[in-house]
Symmetry: C2
Subunit: 357 residues, 2 copies
């Protein structure tokens, strides 16, 4: 009896990476002809079909949406899932969740597993490692094989699909302008490394807000956190970095942090250094998480609208699935009639709490 | 072409509930013979196989673990998933997550979907509605069809399988004894309704600790929260209930809450009523969540060890899967050699922070 083989098993047998197998099976030019032939021959021998997605789609609708997120211990992603679930349940769909753990290889493996007959389409947010590698072949291969994808929050221009984002740039502008209005003179930014698109856009918003208010940006006041590594004592490392940053820049009287954890950690460190919030230092974060609400002082934030993002994503995906179904029931189809891809941008606003004056 | 049919579709066609279909297909005596025959005939006609789990198991190993949890926006469940993932990845398994949303029907639908060839076994925590109904036929049917289950946190005696729990009873005893040692005279309990097993055990621990210290329990000092309903303004309702409770019982000087949200909400309400923590009121929660650490004052808690629970669960499941595999490779198997079911009880301890003296 022939067992079903996976990308991971092919990779192991041929001593290459999962991503090489995945690329060879989608005829990527990055892989040498020799390797591609070897991998395709092996896959054929073991009955691996790179396009079994399309086959399964034609045969049946699972009425299930596959969600693929980078991390589970993250309030934002949880609220997005809640939003997806609400809409999915209302419209008769089930959801199933896979986790990339911010890993490129795990993202590919999970997509293969879910796409293999379990689901009708994906709602996903890209892993950090994938963004760093800028390798999006697996998304494009999935779409080419007929399975629709909706991307949310972490999206890229290189993949043509429906997307749902918040207005990261303008959210950051609003936050920094608020700090300027509140008479902060030295506004610091605590952000991620640039390869995370949302961090990059929020950083641009910070710079733009300063510039348009005639304030020169000071690179010393920007702290970029490298959280690509899965370190056990992540929070401690973060606090140490922020403490060092604040000590080196005692003039800081305002902080914009691109996520909730950075903002709450900044408040904690400031307090330890004897500063009072908001009197000595005002802090604004970016999120609508549980930590912000319950922190003392509670945190002023840019709303991230996770649940709304989830709801919009689910509606976009289900609309597309149902349009395809309606189309496939017609005798003559015109593929030009396919709906163009939509990018939904959700507006942000400032939720004022106690960490600003 | 025959489409694959699901429990949900059979239920819709025959105008009965998903649970009735599920029970009829596992020959439950609860369902009348007439209905059972009708459902089984219909299922046969549409090629639904109640035992396709067992078939798929024999044909292949997916090397994937199905996790089924009641809720995603919940730090405890997230940490359990992280623990499962760590062990699964190390041992060459993938994970996939389904959500019951605390609903009995969604639990059945998700189990059917995941069991249908996608996974090798389940790690799950039972939904509130299932606990309320005390109907566990779907777990037993899954196990009887050859797919192992490991239950964690919310477990029941009625299902024979491996289980991982924390020592809820003794954790509660330790918390209440700590409050007694700290000279609290009127110790309140904020807990869930009794059908949630962990809430019940923690309530018993509270009562036992009082009794063994010669303190008579006062039913006025026990607040049972009904959170079975999915209300939008859940936190506001919770805070209103706690405020009413504190106002009716001004003598309360110690609070043991069975989860983090109740504990943090109690502190918030107490502060609004002009009480100082820990001077006027000491509070202990049950969890090791992010809120406890970042709350001001930070919350003393009974550690719940979510990640450790996840790791233990994954090891139990994979051990069993691999033992079965080894067994099936032998010519003569002796089913008596099967490992007995194990119940892992994880010890709890008090993590002292600022909300106690």
């Amino acid at each position: 009896m022939k067992k079903k083989i996976t990308l991971k098993q092919i990779a192991k047998e041929l001593d290459v990476s999962v991503s090489t197998v995945s690329k060879a099976l989608s005829n990527s030019k990055e892989i040498s002809e020799d390797t591609t032939q070897k991998i395709q021959a092996f896959a054929k021998l073991y009955n691996y079909k790179p396009n079994n997605i399309a086959l399964s789609l034609k045969n049946r609708k699972t009425k299930t949406i596959g969600i693929l997120i980078p991390e589970i211990v993250h309030h934002f992603f949880s609220t997005v899932i809640r939003g997806i679930e609400r809409v999915a349940n209302r419209r008769g769909y089930n959801v199933i969740v896979g986790l990339s753990n911010e890993s490129f290889t795990k993202e590919i493996i999970n997509m293969e597993m879910l796409a293999n007959g379990s689901i009708d389409g994906f709602i996903l947010s890209i892993s950090k490692e994938t963004l760093l590698k800028q390798d999006y072949h697996h998304f494009n291969a999935t779409i080419n094989q007929g399975m629709p994808i909706v991307m949310f929050d972490r999206v890229v221009n290189e993949v043509q699909c429906d997307k749902v984002i918040v207005d990261d740039f303008n959210g950051a502008v609003k936050a920094v302008k608020k700090l300027i209005e509140n008479e902060c003179k030295n506004i610091a930014l605590i952000t991620t490394m640039d390869y995370v698109s949302v961090g990059r856009l929020r950083t641009q918003g910070y710079l733009d807000a300063l510039q348009s208010s005639g304030i020169e940006a000071d690179s010393n006041l920007i702290l970029k956190i490298d959280d690509s590594l899965d370190v056990e004592n992540h929070v401690e490392v973060l606090e140490t970095e922020i403490a060092h940053f604040f000590k080196s820049n005692p003039s800081i009287d305002g902080v914009f942090a691109v996520n909730e954890l950075y903002a709450v950690s900044a408040m904690k460190v400031a307090r330890k250094l004897g500063l009072t919030i908001p009197d000595d230092m005002q802090v604004i974060g970016f999120t609508d998480g549980v930590l912000s609400k319950h922190a003392t002082p509670s945190l002023t934030t840019v709303s991230q609208h996770g649940q709304k993002m989830g709801e919009q994503s689910a509606n976009l995906l289900i609309d597309r699935l149902e349009a395809e179904e309606a189309e496939s029931e017609q005798y003559f189809t015109n593929s030009d009639q396919k709906r163009d891809f939509i990018k939904v941008v959700i507006e942000t606003e400032i939720i004022e709490r106690e960490s600003t004056k």
